[in-house]
Amino acid sequence: MSFLEFLVANRGEIWLRTVEHLGLVAISSAVATAAGVPLGIWLTRNERVRTPILGVANVVQTIPSLALFGFLIPLPFIGGIGARTAIVALVLYALLPIIRNTYTGISGVDASVRDAARGMGMTDRQLLRMVELPLAAPVMLTGIRVATVIGVGIATIAAAIGAGGLGVFIFSGVAMVNNNQILAGAVPAALLALLVDGGLHLVEKRLDWRSR
């Protein structure tokens, strides 16, 4: 059977796994953004916590993904077999680029702009909302985009702990030495990564004040 014939014959399941895959990535990126952006802002306000927090996020990033999934399985509440554990792991991986880019974006705002804002009587909150966040937005979005694209790749491993997604094809393909199956997981995953990358890139451009 050729790869194309395989795709056609299995299009139902491929579609299902792709949606599953996208779901894992979308939820984990959303959670990581909701947690990582405030954390990144906090680091800019509190230089002392910067090194420990970025350090921890860095270390998490170096844990091999298969191992991290494995470590999480025995943990109560966040662990076990299934999608929840996979999402926790994906969130952990996504945090670093989001925290780091939020921090970098905000600290990169020109000191004279910040000085003028304060000197004109902006409150801390106004400075953040009206000046720092809009100016840092492109850099912050780059972080979210990188995190999401990495997530698309790592989520293929989530199948190892029963979370579904396109990794299901890859794992069974490897086990049965069936290249068609491996490709049926890998090709859609790669396309998904490209799509997500391109889409978020467009958003990034729209949010950049320089492109208006």
């Binding site: 702009v113 003028a116 000197g119 009587g121 106004q126």
Partner: protein, 244 residues
Amino acid sequence: MEIAVAFQAAAFHINGRCIVGPLELDVRRGERLVLLGRSGSGKTTTLRLINALVLPTAGTVLVSGTATTDWDVVRLRRSIGYVIQEVGLFPHFTVAQNVGLVPRLEEWTAERIETRVAELLRLVGLEPHRFATRLPHELSGGQRQRVGLARALAADPPLLLCDEPFGAVDPITRADLQREFRVLTDELDKTVVFVTHDLDEAMLLGDRIAFMEKGALAFLGDTAEFRRTDLEPVRSFREARELS
């Protein structure tokens, strides 16, 4: 004579090192006081003591009779115009949004802000219909300085603080800006504290000159007195200028 700003033994230290003071200095209502001195003489820190961007570590700075430590700093700063060398225009705001910022923070109506912005742009020599919708990076250096000045004047503050506002523009534009600034602040009857290291600028703009050296006030007097004085740090500063 009314006093707009009073430094009473005001000093500022970082890690035990004295940056400024202790200073005794009164800024009179309606005058243009120039803080003159070399780089690192404490002029900018002195200026920032007035709008509470730094707070004195000893002594008091009174603005309109109230210590900066007792002011609500947001209220204090909104009642003071602030212009800095790098201008600090918000790059993602149009000219009109930049100029209308303090009115917006003060929750003026959109209509009133628009009228005020147009009025201010005309005041600093920029045609509103040509410039209002531009972004700062679409302006020349001199135009940016004009916008910075308009922004500082937006809520009609009685006091203006200027930190080398004309430092980054070419000499001809600078001369224009200085002349216009002089006329404008006379007409609007503002109290101005103006930081510069440029002797000619100080002579042109100052009603009085406060010469600073190593964080201390070395001389205070009007421009004629400044020209005549034989006081040491002033003389060598003047001579350095004449030699160059």
